[in-house]
């Protein structure tokens, strides 16, 4: 039996002026999968998840979530339907406490739930600190914790490990593994170690277009992908 499809895009296209940031991208994401989206800088990865989440309106094409056409559903409703999104450029409430940040993500001010959510990224003892005073890495972790706290069905992470220390990346991998199975994860990632460690399948975008899809081994051995992205390693 084929796994249920949680997310699907059909011919998704984004044109900026004359430039196609995404061109005719068809994509299917089975529920429960950890899927990595990779590709060179400017390949259109952020644009793609932007259209999936509703941040960026699509020029053409369709987005389906959980069997519903959500192409014209505004972003906040998509989040309510069970998506969560973390930004490539950290977007937290810098002037509010970690507790406030998490409470807004949880939609509740329950102290224990907030502590538990912060604990998942090891920040529970900093709940009363102002988020903007955290180190860059910790701010990224906070944003990831906010995404996880929303208990989404689809968690979209745009380069979450950028700026994290080696030890923090270990913790991140553990966190994602703990979610695997229940939460479907769409992960944009440049760190190939992270991709290889976490992803069940990988999709490669290049120049706004679909280039390849497969298991980590398939992708590693794909000639086209090596030329476009991985280099001849």
């Amino acid at each position: 039996m084929a796994a249920m499809t949680l997310l699907e895009t059909k011919g998704l296209t984004k044109v900026y002026g004359g430039l196609s940031a995404n061109e005719d991208v068809d994509f299917v994401l089975p529920a429960g999968q950890v899927h990595a989206l990779i590709g060179p800088n400017g390949a259109g990865k952020s644009t793609f998840v932007g259209m999936v989440s509703g941040r960026i309106p699509a020029t053409a094409g369709e987005v389906w979530f959980d069997g519903q056409d959500i192409t014209h559903v505004p972003a906040h409703k998509r989040m309510k339907m069970g998506m969560a999104y973390t930004f490539q450029i950290t977007a937290i409430y810098a002037r509010l406490s970690l507790f406030e940040n998490i409470a807004l993500a949880l939609g509740s001010r329950d102290n224990r739930a907030a502590k538990a959510a912060l604990e998942r990224v090891g920040l529970a003892d900093r709940a009363d600190q102002i988020a903007g005073d955290l180190s860059y890495g910790h701010q990224r972790l906070l944003e990831i914790a906010m995404g996880v706290a929303q208990a989404p069905r689809l968690l979209i992470l745009d380069e979450p490990t950028q700026g994290l220390a080696e030890s923090e990346i270990e913790g991140f991998n553990t966190l994602i593994r703990s979610l695997a199975g229940e939460t479907t994860i769409l992960l944009i990632e440049h760190n190939m170690n992270v991709v290889m460690a976490l992803a069940e399948e990988i999709t490669v975008l290049d120049n706004g277009r679909f280039l390849a899809r497969g298991t980590p081994d398939d992708i590693r051995n794909n000639k086209q992908v090596q030329d476009a992205y991985l280099g001849s390693g």
Binding site: S53, R55, A75, H76, K77, M79, K80, Y85, F87, A91, I92, Y93, A94, R95, L96, E100, A103, L104, A105, G107, S108, R109, M146, Q150
Partner: protein, 314 residues
């Protein structure tokens, strides 16, 4: 004490002090504080939008005026008793703010400021244009005999003070409660990071819209209260000056604090009062103090207190 208990103690304590003030103050200050309480209600309304939601309006006088004229016209021409006329004032302000919200919220930042300024200017000019009814700049007086509520004479200084305190307390407690529950937290979230808030699943437009309507309606309640308690309705209250005042009061007292609006209004009122007793150039003194405050107490009086000593301040 938990934060909630401290916050309740603060607000109830403040209202108690003001209540005692009614009997402890001499006639001069009693009259001043009654006026300050109504103006501080206006500032509380302004603070909902500016302090908590981060929407800078330069046209709030239109909401104050909507309440003022709504009540004034209903009493003066409609012959309505005070309470129904007050409700008319509230409805006028609520409808106007909903209209302004729908149109102005299509813009952000400086454009938003200018759109609110333009709307307020249109309201001001409309009041002058319909001078036959509104009596324009000159204004009109609401007959003393009609300014009664439940057998209480609102022109009596003590009754007036207590009525002003009731109005102020209602606005204070409503906003304090609002900022305590999720709705208010989301307003702060919108102020701090709109995009993040949207991507957490909150309807940003809906929250901004309600913030404008609540802000405009509280400001309108202040306007209606002003007309009822002081018996005068005039176009000055719709002028740019009256749009700038609440901004100054809130900035001085501390934007985004519940009691900052009152603190700022008292501060500015007495600053002008005392400096005008000293010199004709009282606006100069007021200006210098304002400059000093913005240099050394950026967050306003209550904002600085919160920063330095009392991070729990709501």
């Amino acid at each position: 004490m938990s934060i909630d208990r401290r916050s309740i103690a603060l607000h109830v304590g403040l209202i108690t002090v003001l209540f005692v003030g009614c009997f402890a103050l001499n006639d001069y200050h009693q009259g001043n504080v009654a006026r300050i309480l109504v103006l501080a209600t206006y500032a509380i309304g302004y603070n909902v939008m500016f302090g908590y939601t981060g929407l800078l309006s330069l046209g709030h006088a239109m909401f104050f005026a909507a309440g003022l004229y709504g009540l004034g016209m209903a009493m003066h021409y409609g012959g309505l008793p005070a309470i129904p006329a007050f409700v008319v004032g509230l409805i006028c302000a609520a409808v106007l703010s909903a209209l302004v919200a729908v149109l102005a919220l299509r813009t952000i930042g400086v454009a938003f400021m200018i759109v609110t300024l333009m709307f307020a200017q249109s309201v001001f000019l409309a009041i002058l244009y319909f001078g036959d009814w509104t009596r324009g700049d000159e204004g009109f007086v609401i007959a003393q005999s009609t300014r009664q509520v439940l057998g209480l004479d609102l022109t009596d200084p003590v009754t007036r003070y207590l009525a002003a305190l009731a109005l102020f307390s209602a606005a204070l407690l409503i906003t304090a409660r609002m900022m305590h529950v999720r709705f208010g937290r989301v307003l702060i979230a919108v102020r701090e990071n709109e995009e993040r808030t949207r991507m957490l699943g909150y309807d940003v437009f809906r929250h901004k819209f309600l913030a404008v309507v609540i802000s405009g309606t509280i400001s309108g309640a202040a306007g209606a209260g002003y007309g009822l308690l002081f018996g005068y309705v005039g176009a000055t209250f719709a002028s740019v000056q009256y749009s700038i005042f609440p901004l100054l009061w809130v900035l001085l007292g501390g934007a985004g604090t519940t009691i900052g609006p009152l603190v700022g209004t008292i501060f500015m009122f007495y600053l002008i009062d005392y400096s005008s007793a000293l010199t004709n150039a009282y606006m100069l003194i007021a200006g210098v103090v304002l400059v000093l405050l913005t240099l050394f107490a950026r967050a306003g009086i209550m904002g600085e207190i919160r920063k330095r000593w009392a991070p729990w301040l709501p």
